[in-house]
């Protein structure tokens, strides 16, 4: 296994659930038990925020990716009385959604008929959710099943121990208990678990939508929330992971749950990174939904101080961890901190074990980590509750440790906190703030070069479970990609030397390397070989490779692109370039992929034109054209000859075989008799693979320049195709081929050539390319056979389908003829005496050119 696992995508989502604060947050449910008439419960509803206020709350906008932690740092504290001007529900990393839709998602997530919605409400939510395009039709339809009217819902709450789902005062749904006796399946527990699942599902859906990867490629999902699911015989039986991935549409994943209180996500990230690093799985998702219990947890303090209830959202997050792609930030699986059993609970011991020890072991100073992401609780929530500013306290401790380690001067503490820290923006949903909220922005920070190394720190209060008094935590370093895919552990960015004296110096080519069968070493070598010619390859890998390649082409960063597959439109097909074995001569194969026309003959003619364009643009001044001796070759020859007769500049090659002709035999292919060898793209594709890999035994395409540029009328992108089996020399060859086309202004040559072809009557010629057959069909009359005679002369060049008609056409004129198959294809045989006359007749009738 090569390279470190990468963080390829992250999503962050919030569901604004003000009514769940009242009915499900433990601070409130406890208060209702111990002090039902308390002033707090009366005051609380007045402090709930509107949906708009939740959306415009700056920390929430940072969470979903519409603002950055720097924006938050620039915001004067406190945050609750300010709004983000450009606030949106949809963000770069995820979204904020309202309570009613969230109830609908809970219903979709429920597969045991436990969630019932009010009939009308369910129909309304179905419409709303349909607009998001998150769910299948079947899932949306399920919203209309298993519902009830309000009276029944009310009965379920008062008589059946169901938990109500409210919008304001209105009861719009219930969660029923799943068992009459089992407390683990009580309505309360089921609601908590379904909320966790539903918020997890939202994040998993946003992960795939916002990061453009194939969810079918995900093999394993790890849930790291703080809930437990199972009945009384297996209270923490688990697998929220698989349950959520099922609904969210990750068909090939299995999964499991990792628990560690607030440190859960950091532990889960280590699990995922290790699974990927070991090569067990290529794509692992770490994911978690939020919890109702913590809604309004510090509400009493917020209400007392006249603040809004700031803990009013169910949060979720998902992170995709994948095999190294040479692009995304890497998880340093070898720089990991652990709070161990013997570490103790003294703060300096804790921070020492999580920060000092792993960095020391890796030979890094504390100041060499650009950003620390400890628990990123939003201080707007914690400070009024007397819990202080948690991230800031952590930064101060890390700074203090740096002072103790002599990495930092005591006077530098305040600066350290500012430079290496960030203000917290995460909702206090327990495990959610566990360092991971930074991963999305970290991807951006690494991309922009702002951050080279960051440390993610998760901490957990194990003593809350009453099983141990121990504290816990793990940490790991994430670094900007070292571009050493193939090199194993790395310390420095690998330099690709670009030869400044080479012909193509300054040519930049976007290379989507995704899908190679020969691994990352092959890609590296290709880039190096191209570099020696002066070509700079901009390599993209993974699922986003094509997107990045397209972007580089579109914004002019690259002048051409090389890729292993590309959806060319009809009308565009590729002209490959091979080295022929007999004399080592280069030959263009027109064409090798794509469809230049749906009509076979028209396609061959257009391939010939594309071949001429490619050869000329590659520097062949007057390319010779031969037509491989395949079905349709004669008709193609006829059309091309007509084009030439009408003034289109084309030089025909002559077969090296004794009988000559424009039709090229297998011998001519090996000899490279023609510069441009015309054939249909299926045959061309076959030829490409033969010519590229015959020296290696087949699997590794080692020779030539690949499948070539997509050429078609009006097509102005230069996209070169190589194969997944293409070896480094072929990929580098494709880049060189592209660089030549760029240098010779291929686009201008293409435009001029197409214009000349049209001027020579291309359209009419193609229209009439099979007239003989059509006319012949009309003449389906009984033609009497002339007297049989010995036929020794042959007329080639007739389409096999037209042979019978051609024979009859000759019979009609009193010439005895027989159809046959000559060594170069179908022929009409006649007597030597009749040959000239027969040629004239067939030419006139359009059977031969």
């Amino acid at each position: 296994m090569k390279g470190y696992p990468v963080i390829k995508g992250a999503s962050y989502t919030l569901a604004a659930t003000p009514d769940m604060v009242i009915y499900n947050g433990t601070t409130q449910t406890t208060e209702r038990v111990v002090n039902p008439s308390s002033e707090y419960l009366v005051e609380l509803p007045k402090h709930l925020r509107s949906y708009e206020d939740v959306v415009s709350y700056i920390p929430n906008q940072v969470y979903i990716g519409n603002a950055t932690y720097e924006d938050l740092a620039a915001t004067e504290f406190p945050y609750y009385d300010k709004k983000w001007n450009d606030a949106k529900e949809d963000g770069k990393f995820g979204c904020i959604l309202p309570e009613d839709e969230f109830y609908g998602i809970m219903h979709i997530c429920d597969v045991f008929e436990l969630v019932l919605l009010e009939n009308g409400f369910a129909a309304e939510i179905k419409e709303k959710l349909a607009k998001r395009e998150w769910f299948t039709d079947e899932q949306l339809e399920s919203l209309l099943k298993n519902n009830a009217d309000e009276t029944e819902l009310q009965r379920l709450v008062t008589e059946e121990h169901s938990e109500g789902l409210y919008i304001g005062e209105k009861l719009v749904g219930v969660v029923k208990r799943a068992h009459d006796v089992d407390v683990n399946l009580s309505a309360h527990v089921m609601l908590e678990n379904l909320v966790s699942k539903a918020s997890n599902v939202v994040s998993l859906i946003e992960l795939k939508k916002k990061n453009n990867f194939d969810p079918a490629s995900v093999e394993y999902v790890i849930d790291c929330c703080e809930e437990a699911c199972g009945d009384m015989n297996q209270r923490g039986g688990g697998n929220f992971a698989k349950a959520a991935a099922e609904i969210a549409g990750y068909p090939n994943a299995t999964g499991s749950d990792v628990r560690g209180f607030c440190a859960g996500p950091a532990h889960a990230m280590l699990h995922a990174a290790a699974l990927v690093k070991a090569g067990t799985f290529k794509n692992v998702v770490v994911t978690a939904g939020g919890c109702t219990a913590k809604l309004g947890m510090n509400g009493k303090d917020h209400v007392k101080k006249g603040l809004p209830i700031l803990e009013d959202c169910i949060a979720g997050f998902s992170v995709l961890v994948s095999a190294d792609d040479g692009i995304h930030p890497q998880v340093r699986t070898d720089i990991v901190g652990r709070h161990t059993i013997s570490t103790g609970s003294a703060p300096q011991k804790v921070i020492g074990s999580l920060v000092g020890d792993p960095l020391k072991a890796a030979g890094l100073k504390i100041t060499e980590i650009d950003k620390y992401a400890p628990e990123l609780q939003n201080p707007d929530i914690t400070k009024p509750a007397g819990a202080g500013d948690v991230p800031e306290a952590n930064y101060k401790m890390i700074a203090a440790l740096a002072v103790m380690n002599k990495d930092l001067d005591r006077a530098g503490i305040a600066d350290f906190v500012k430079q290496h820290g960030m203000p917290g923006w995460a909702p206090t949903q327990g495990h959610i703030p566990s360092g991971v909220p930074y991963l999305g922005q970290l991807m951006d920070d690494c991309k922009s070069g702002k951050v080279q190394k960051a440390m993610i720190i998760g901490k957990g209060s194990l003593f809350l479970g009453r099983m141990t008094n121990l504290f816990d935590g793990v940490s790991f370093v994430v670094q900007a990609n070292d571009h050493q895919v193939g090199g194993g552990s790395a310390t420095a960015k690998k330099e690709v030397k670009i030869c400044k004296t080479a012909n193509y110096y300054g040519t930049k080519i976007a290379f989507a390397s995704e899908g190679s069968e020969h691994g990352e070493d092959n890609i590296d070598l290709a880039v190096e070989l191209a570099g020696k010619k002066g070509i700079e390859a901009i390599v993209s890998t993974g699922e986003t490779a094509h997107k990045e390649m397209e972007a580089a082409l579109a914004d002019g960063t690259a002048q051409a692109a090389v890729t292993m597959h590309y959806p060319f439109p009809i009308g565009v097909s590729t002209v490959g370039k091979v080295i022929t074995p007999a004399r080592g001569k280069a030959m263009y194969i027109a064409n090798t992929t794509g469809t230049s026309d749906t009509d076979r003959v028209a396609a061959l003619v257009k391939n010939a034109i594309a071949g001429i364009i490619a050869a000329k643009a590659d520097g062949v001044e007057n390319p010779t054209v031969g037509i491989a001796n395949i079905d349709g070759a004669r008709a193609c020859e006829k059309a091309l000859k007509q084009l030439k007769a009408n003034g289109f500049d084309i030089t025909f090659a002559e077969s090296a075989r004794a009988d000559g002709g424009v039709e090229m035999r297998g011998n001519d292919l090996l000899l490279g008799t023609a510069d441009v060898m015309v054939m249909d793209s299926l045959t061309g594709n076959l030829m490409m693979k033969l010519f590229s890999s015959y020296t290696t035994g087949g699997q590794y395409e080692a020779m030539g320049y690949g499948y070539g540029p997509g050429i078609g009328e009006g097509y102005d992108k230069l996209v070169m195709i190589v194969s997944r089996a293409s070896g480094a020399p072929v990929i580098a060859g494709a880049m060189e081929y592209a660089a030549n086309l760029v240098a010779n202004d291929w686009k201008k040559i293409a435009d001029e050539t197409y214009a000349a072809a049209h001027a020579a009557g291309l359209d009419d010629i193609l229209k009439s390319s099979a007239p003989a057959k059509a006319e012949a069909e009309e003449e389906e009359e009984d033609v009497p056979m002339p007297a049989k005679e010995v036929v020794t002369a042959a007329i080639p060049g007739i389409e096999v389908m037209d042979i019978d008609n051609a024979v009859k056409a000759l019979w009609k004129e009193g010439i005895y003829a027989e159809g046959g198959m000559g060594c170069t294809g179908p022929i009409v045989q006649i007597s030597e005496a009749n040959k000239d006359k027969a040629v004239a007749i067939l030419t006139k009738a359009g059977y031969i050119g």
Binding site: A346, P347, G388, V390, A393, T428, F463
Partner: protein, 43 residues
Amino acid sequence: MAILKDKHVIIIGDRDGVPGPAIEECAKTAGANIAYSSTECFV
């Protein structure tokens, strides 16, 4: 007179301040009897 010596000490630590067990270690050296130790968590 010492504050802690021979007294029954109740410790209310804080996850994000000084946790209970850390305070316990300190109080023991002062000759206190640890009656109860816990750590609160606000997050």
